[in-house]
């Protein structure tokens, strides 16, 4: 059975089986992943797969089910499972199937040019990156990861209210991790880049960047444990923002899981802090013309000069709060129910370069990486206490790498404590972007 036949049959049979409204969500993706080790292809992975999710209103409640096995018998499985799941819900979750927006932006997230790059060219590039990185400095002992991955994806939303949306996207990711050693000291440095422009990837530049990143971490020194002014480099800042995104979700304020409940219109951050979500930002990769329930996406200001302008909504949360949806219904795949999440959320850039920010500090710490965010940060309390890598700044200059450290603070205070935003806005693969930020102070504990 083709997917189109399956889809049509599923919608028709769902309506016959007692659903009053129904929708299918289909995704199909292809990917290639190459891992290089010592000049050879260590692993070569390809895939093509897909699945389909059904959601439907049954006795006024929204039931969900999905399958990756596209065969006749799955239609029954989906309908019976979605019904049983609807039955067990406590109440109508306030949502219905959407008939569609008036207009969609029609932005293109697919590059034919990238799709046409032959595999041998990709192999050559990633091998060259390994070679150039290894040759960059004798202290580079190995690359523990040297990976190129590309992917493409088709998605379809179709429902009984006449909505039928399609989108195609692709992208390529390079991920490199380098191990450097000097004496007994061992450090790593990583590089990650996501792009649709294969031609812009230059092996020399990438090798230099990852090598310098790793080498700069050598020569670590301990510094006293205390509160320091902190510069969060763009990538560390973006990862912290990504971790705390759930606080901006109306779904979470409605469940008393976010301290931003009732704060729309209030000042919650420093004047220099402006937060946006732009599904069409040219430097970001995670955009889309429509959200998980088919609402046309658009650029939104979340925080404007410190004032919370809106929370992120899908149609259900918007209805509950008596506002319009912001187009942030999120369906991470056909396996998921709808939640709320941004597409390309980023902190607006300021005017000063990272170097200017460093030069402005008498003493402080530049943070270049955070780890343990999944466990050391609570989106409910806002507290975070996580491991970090970075550098000690004195008299406006970087003096040394800092031994393993932790930084601790509270994200709600942190937003208020931002003194300056840099000009170096960058997007990370997950769709989060930030410039480097100068923050009043954080607790820094050093090994």
């Amino acid at each position: 059975m083709t997917i189109n036949e399956f889809q049509e049959k599923l919608l028709a049979e769902a309506m016959d089986a007692g659903f009053t409204e129904s929708e299918v969500y289909y995704q199909r993706s292809e990917s290639l992943q190459l891992m290089i080790f010592e000049g050879e292809i260590d692993s070569y992975e390809t895939s093509e797969n897909g699945g389909i999710g059904l959601r439907g209103l049954y006795n006024g409640k929204m039931g969900y089910a999905y399958t990756e096995k596209i065969e006749q018998a799955s239609i029954r499985f989906l309908i019976d499972s979605a019904k049983a799941n609807a039955d067990v819900l406590d109440e109508d979750d306030g949502t219905d199937i959407f008939e569609g927006s008036e207009k969609y932006a029609g932005h293109d997230f697919y590059s034919e040019e990238l799709a046409n790059v032959p595999i041998p060219e990709k192999i050559e590039l990633i091998k060259l990156i390994e070679k150039k990185t290894l040759a960059y400095d004798p202290r580079i002992i190995t690359l523990d990861y040297c990976v190129l991955q590309d992917y493409s994806e088709d998605r379809v939303i179709a429902n009984n209210k006449g909505l039928s949306l399609k989108e195609k996207m692709n992208g390529l990711v390079i991920y490199i991790s380098v191990v450097v050693k000097e004496g007994e000291e061992m450090k790593t440095g990583t590089y990650v880049k996501m792009t649709r422009d294969f031609g812009a990837l230059d092996a020399d530049t990438i090798a230099k960047e990852v090598a310098e990143e790793a080498l700069s971490n050598l020569g670590e020194q301990s510094i006293p444990t205390k509160k320091y002014p902190v510069i969060m480099r763009y990538d560390a800042s973006a990862s912290l923002l990504a971790t705390f995104t759930p606080i901006f979700s109306a779904e979470n304020t409605q469940k008393d899981q976010s301290l931003l409940k009732g704060k729309v219109g209030e000042k919650i951050a420093a004047n220099v802090f402006t937060l946006l979500d732009d599904p069409f930002h040219p430097d970001a990769m995670a955009g889309s013309n429509f959200d998980g329930e088919g609402v046309a996406s658009e650029k939104r200001i979340i925080i404007s000069n410190g004032t919370l302008e809106t929370l992120l909504h899908n149609r259900k949360t918007a209805k509950k709060d008596g506002v319009e949806t912001t187009g942030h219904a999120h369906k991470s795949s056909y396996k998921s129910t709808l939640t709320v999440a941004p597409m390309n959320m980023y902190i607006a850039a300021g005017t000063k370069s990272k170097e200017d920010l460093i030069a402005s500090l008498e003493e402080g710490v530049l943070i270049t990486g955070l780890s343990g965010l999944h466990s050391g940060a609570s989106t409910i309390s806002g507290d975070f206490s996580v491991a970090a890598t970075g550098f000690h700044i004195k008299n406006g200059k970087i003096v040394s790498a800092v031994k393993q450290m932790t930084i601790a603070g509270n994200f709600f205070d942190y937003m208020k404590d931002i003194k300056e935003t840099g000009s170096d806005l960058e997007f990370m693969p997950g769709g989060y972007g930030s410039p480097s930020l100068l923050v009043k102070e954080l607790s820094v504990t050093v090994d």
Partner: protein, 462 residues
């Protein structure tokens, strides 16, 4: 799931360009997830994951492909396309596949798919009520129930043919406490490689009560001081420290390429002689247990560190080639979407002789970490970090005030050397472990341990 003749044809197509080993992994999995928030069942979703992974080795090259197309032509095409990545060499031969009958160690009494939703919901409501009624400051309770029935078929060109069914059941409880200004959470997530009997027999008063108690306790906690302290880590999920600090560094994924501080050190002393570290996939019905690993090898008890001496690694079939060693039944993957590699199952520190009372009484000034959160490690350097979910100060051999925001950082190889007391109360805790072959159920375990010094990061300063 699929005819033997088709499997043999796919294995053969995979070797058509000269690969020396081929394997087929077929997965058919049923999943049910339910969520309860604010006393209401808000989410319930069921699904079926189905796909086929084909793996080919050619010397030290590994090709992996997966697809959801289960037609014979589709599979043969996928195998042939993958084989194109191999350039000549090899002399792959196919041995006729022979079904191996697995005697399951992990018996399942009630297949979750046969249990109606209402019974699952009843348990969730009961757990919700216990947590909610624990204290008036408990404002919110979130529960997540999940069951999975994963049917796998693994066959390879060496003639292996194994089928297995893995059943997982888990109930996670998160309680949020608030005093009107601040919010704190507590979490407990018991899980097992077992059927619904595990969920129905859970001591909900204990698990839901503890989640609520942690949230309320943390609301009353002071900020954690920073600095270097002796740290007592309680049993059960406390074992996550050694999962991060040395478990990952003992996986062949890191060892085979010398990207681990433990590489090439078999026979060396890596810990005091009170430390024995074991990975055991055979513990009956434990969350990280398996009858066979994802290459079809029987799981076993692997002693990694014995009385402080490094004895072995966790090795999968592919890395075994680079290491010139035998696989240890440790190859795992989240699903057909992942190329398998060496991973932990149920990893734990063996019990010692000290009683928990002795350990606390002999600590003058330090931190007692009662419940751990998760953590992370850089296997190349061994630098780890993790969060403490519930911590206390220890003063003059007694447990003092609760403190919050404690993060432990250090280096695995060093921390291992600093274990100076090992308790006699071994217990296991369930967690999810994320790494290159996906997110997997693992148990971490230990008795209460004391480490003479760990760097503790907190907000309070020294």
């Amino acid at each position: 799931m699929i005819k033997h003749s088709i499997i043999e044809n796919v294995l053969e197509a995979a070797l058509s360009t000269g690969g020396d080993f081929s394997e087929v992994f077929i997965e058919d999995k049923y999943v049910n997830t339910m969520e309860l928030q604010s006393g209401k069942i808000e989410k319930s979703i069921s699904g079926r994951d189905f796909g086929i992974g084909i793996r080919i080795f050619s010397g030290l090259q590994c090709i992996y492909t997966y697809t959801t197309d289960f037609s014979e032509a589709g599979l043969i095409n996928a195998a042939k396309r993958a084989a194109l990545a191999i350039k000549g060499g090899g002399n792959g031969t196919i041995h006729p596949i022979q079904k191996e009958i697995i005697q399951p160690i992990h018996t399942i009494a009630q297949m979750p798919r046969t249990v109606e939703h209402a019974r699952k919901v009843a348990v969730m409501r009961k757990a919700n009520d216990i947590a909610k009624n624990y204290d008036e400051r408990i404002k919110q309770v979130g529960l997540r129930y999940i069951d999975e029935e994963q049917n796998v078929l693994i066959a390879n060109s060496e003639g292996k043919f194994v089928e297995d069914t893995r059943v997982y059941s888990r109930l996670s409880i998160q309680a949020t406490a608030s005093d009107g200004i601040e919010m704190q959470t507590g979490f407990y997530g018991p899980g097992a490689h077992a059927g619904f009997e595990f969920i129905e027999n859970l001591d909900l008063n204990h698990y839901a009560g503890e989640a609520a108690r942690i949230a309320v306790t943390m609301l009353e906690a002071d900020e954690c001081p920073s600095g270097k302290f002796p740290v007592i880590i309680d049993n059960e999920f406390g074992g996550v420290i050694f999962h991060e600090a040395c478990g990952h560094g003992l996986e062949a994924t890191a060892v085979a390429k010398n990207n681990s501080v433990f590489a090439n050190r078999i026979g060396e002393r890596v810990a005091p002689d009170i430390v024995t570290y074991i990975d055991d996939g055979t513990l009956p019905n434990e969350w990280g247990s398996l009858n066979v690993d994802d290459e079809g090898e029987k799981t076993r008890k692997n002693i990694l560190i014995e009385d402080g001496i490094l004895k072995g690694y966790l090795i999968d079939k592919f890395n075994a080639r680079r290491m010139n060693a035998e696989a240890t039944g440790s190859s795992r993957r989240q699903s057909y979407r992942f190329n398998p590699t060496s991973r932990m199952t149920n990893t734990y520190i063996a019990p010692g002789k000290s009683t928990p009372e002795e350990i606390i009484a002999s600590t003058e000034h330090g931190i007692y970490a009662k419940y751990m959160g998760g953590g992370q490690v850089n296997p190349a350097t061994g630098d780890y970090n993790f969060a403490v979910a519930e911590a206390y100060l220890v003063k003059d051999g007694k447990i003092d005030r609760p403190v919050r925001g404690a993060t432990l950082i250090g280096n695995g190889a060093n921390t291992l050397q600093l274990v100076d007391m090992v308790g006699n109360n071994l217990a296991h805790g369930a967690g999810m472990c994320g790494s290159i072959s996906g997110s997997l159920p693992v148990n971490v375990g230990q008795p209460m341990l004391r480490i003479s010094e760990i760097t503790v990061g907190g907000t309070k300063g020294e």
